[in-house]
Symmetry: C2
Subunit: 229 residues, 2 copies
Amino acid sequence: MNTLEHIAVIPLFEGLSQKHQEDLAAIVVQRVFGRGQSIFSEGDEGNGFYVVVSGRVKVFKLSSEGKEQILHIFGASEPFGEVPVFAGQRFPASAEALEESRVFFFPRKAFVDLIQRDPSLALNMLAVLSRRLRQFTTLVEGLSLKEVPGRLAAYLLYLNEKQGGTNQVTLDISKGQLAGLLGTIPETLSRVLARMSRERLIESKGTRRIHILDRDGLQDLADGGKHLP
Amino acid sequence: MNTLEHIAVIPLFEGLSQKHQEDLAAIVVQRVFGRGQSIFSEGDEGNGFYVVVSGRVKVFKLSSEGKEQILHIFGASEPFGEVPVFAGQRFPASAEALEESRVFFFPRKAFVDLIQRDPSLALNMLAVLSRRLRQFTTLVEGLSLKEVPGRLAAYLLYLNEKQGGTNQVTLDISKGQLAGLLGTIPETLSRVLARMSRERLIESKGTRRIHILDRDGLQDLADGGKHLP
DNA sequence: CGTGGCCTTGATAAAGTTCAAGAGCCGTGG
DNA sequence: CCACGGCTCTTGAACTTTATCAAGGCCACG
């Protein structure tokens, strides 16, 4: 698959003319990052943004004591690191490859030029940022208004839906990373999973496989329902 | 001040031609909301977005048990409620007037049309959304990685900077609302303020006036520094 | 000058984190 | 093929932070 074909497949670039896609292919820079390798750090200057071609990338914040809050995990064809392109020039968070990952880098100036010439690209980017804002409201809601079991239940249901259908879920990240995504620590996550098993909401099958036994019970938790005494 | 003059003053519309500003003036709808009145609710369909003309508006989420997390407070010339314009059509949060407020409403379709014709409007809107994303990362960082004293300290320093200069800060919202903005409840906020006074970091002068006695101490807290033993 | 809303304070309970130790799993290399 | 070493994950006990419940105090405004 060549560069142009990869670009054609990215939803952000849907609706672009052949010519404009070729313009993008002309300015793009391809890079590869190994597992655990940093892509950018909070406070760095951003002179462009990224799109994941293959692999997975996490964007996160670190506390002064080293705790990590994951903001997003991006997979193939998803853009990240756009904020500095349009507002100020420093990254508000850090990014790191979760596994060996190939990414496109689009330099700021050429990309902004293209946006000015192509309204559909502008609207696509507005849609991307708007969806991101929506996701953030969900994250904030979870952190502020729900407890860990509620956030975990919501995540399991979300994963289950994404993996379409059956009552089986396969975690796509390690439990340590999941803890960071849910705004807690591995110990707490482990205890909550154990409790959910005890209460017959779920059943663990191996390290990364979980059976959903009581979807309604999980839904109650995700909605902030009160726990059984 | 007529409609066109109000529009000319909104940063989002900076750089627009006279003609396009007139187009906006032609599609805008003006509305007034009393203190405590709802502007929209989470889940409502959004067929346009808003700009505050005068007064103040809070955007927030409610938990199933009635706790409120404020996401933003918007003042004059600030746009809000844009997400449904570009992504899906439902509001991810609710909005309510904090005081008697006048707002402009811009219907979705006409506005999107104009964006397609004017790249500078597109870029302005991208900048608005990007700044909003940046603010969210700060909010998430606070909620997940800092304790209440740290968030409060950061807010006081932010307010102090915004109010330019001296060591005196005037709260622009009630303490109950501030608790909602910091992701806590009034009782906890009250206790934290009392503790900061005891430790001579601040001094309360009346209900809404606070003197900053130890800016470095506050900065330490805001950075997640460890508390004095 | 009284009344209601907002704020404060106290006692108690719940949720989550920390620290410490042990168990399970996996890839590597003998 | 098995054993080693290093992770990741789990579990326990103590502690910290925050929420909850319940009064009581303070203004502000009518």
